[in-house]
């Protein structure tokens, strides 16, 4: 009986397998996008009921931090002209934490704040009474660039997040990364913004100048 040949090499040559897998990998890299659901969140005001008269606005002028942007992308911040957004976050922060004329409830709030935030209260009678009254108003023109609008909104958000973060002893980046999935993080998140509402008002833009 003839003996079986066992000279054949046992291994299959798999050298080109890596190349094939690489091709697949490159195909996926090209055809897919990494999910980028990041951005600046905001909640729009409720719709206007035509049967209801517009609500009375009895806010004091000093409690509104006004940012106007015209169609040439120039800013008017609290009646001061400027052409860039440098330092806007710091001004918003000072405005919100001013505590010019707090009522009893807000004196309690003030006393509960950490020293870092207490130090920021300038108690300027021309600025906001207390954080619950303070509103940051952004008004644009139809011709304002979306880029600048978002930059301003970004700075205002930054001011608020820094306040929240300093309150719980985190950095702003760490605070924003908190999620409501775990109870401990949610508690930290709620403690940061408790009694400090983020009041950003976005007015409807002016017509014209588009």
């Amino acid at each position: 009986m003839p003996r079986k040949k066992s000279r054949m090499s046992q291994e299959v040559n798999a050298g080109s397998m890596a190349d094939i897998a690489f091709l697949l990998l490159i195909f996926f890299l090209v055809t897919t996008t990494i999910a980028s659901d990041k951005g600046i969140t905001n909640v729009l005001p409720p719709k206007i009921d035509p049967n209801q008269p517009p609500p009375e606005i009895d806010k004091n002028e000093r409690n509104i931090f006004k940012i106007l942007i015209n169609s040439n992308d120039q800013l008017l911040v609290e009646d001061d002209f400027r052409d860039n957004t440098d330092g806007l976050d710091q001004e918003v922060k000072e405005f919100v934490m001013n505590f010019g004329e707090p009522d009893q409830e807000n004196i309690d709030l003030f006393n509960s704040l950490p020293p870092v935030l207490k130090a920021q209260a300038n108690r300027d009678p021309e600025s906001s009474d207390h954080p619950n009254e303070a509103v940051v108003s952004i008004k644009t023109n139809r011709g304002t660039s979306y880029d600048l609008y978002l930059e301003v909104l970004d700075k205002v958000k930054k001011a608020y997040y820094e306040i929240y973060a300093e309150r719980v002893g985190l950095t702003a980046d760490e605070y924003r990364a908190l999620s409501s999935r775990t109870a401990a993080e949610k508690e930290l998140m709620d403690r940061g913004k408790e009694n400090l509402p983020m009041a950003i008002s976005i007015a409807e833009p002016d017509k014209g100048g588009e």
Binding site: A14, L25, A35, G39, I40, T41, K47, G143
Partner: protein, 155 residues
């Protein structure tokens, strides 16, 4: 004298049979972390930059609106247009679109719908404000201005 014989038994070939496995692992990683392009973009998209980015937790609640100059100006003109799903819509269609998107969600989640506005950075505020007004009318008030992170903080 003792004879020292150099060992010459080392194989010359590096075994590469594990290489495909490694590449496949990479491939699976990419397949899991990425999504296939769901729709073809009909408008230009260069997202603006921002620093205070937040990530939304529930992806199923997000609906996307794209806003930008049409990529095909000979058909759609040069004015910024709104794209929802696969087609370009006008401002007046937004309410209907929002209701369609809400119908896809379950009863309890319907009011939690998030609109991700992916607007081109060269767009003016006019169309953006129109969209905001329509979204208020449609009662989809949670909005995410999609943007990418700023690379250098000091410009």
């Amino acid at each position: 004298m003792a004879k020292f014989k150099k060992k010459n038994k080392t194989e010359e070939n590096i075994p590469t049979s594990a290489l495909p496995d490694i590449i496949f692992m990479l491939l699976f990683f990419f397949m899991v972390t990425t999504v296939l392009r769901e729709q073809e973009l009909l408008v230009e998209q260069k997202l603006p930059q921002a620093t205070q980015l937040q990530k939304l937790e529930k992806k199923s609640l997000i609906s996307y609106l794209f806003l930008g100059k049409p990529k095909n100006p000979s058909v759609y003109g040069t004015e910024p247009r709104i794209q929802a799903n696969d087609r370009l819509i006008s401002t007046g269609d937004i309410i209907q679109w929002v209701n369609e998107e809400k119908d896809k969600l379950s009863e309890a989640e319907r009011e939690q719908i998030y609109i991700s506005l992916k607007a081109d950075r060269d767009v003016k505020m006019g169309p953006v404000a129109d969209i905001q007004l329509e979204l208020r009318e449609a009662d989809a008030r949670k909005i995410l201005y999609a943007s990418v992170g700023k690379v250098n903080q000091d410009d």
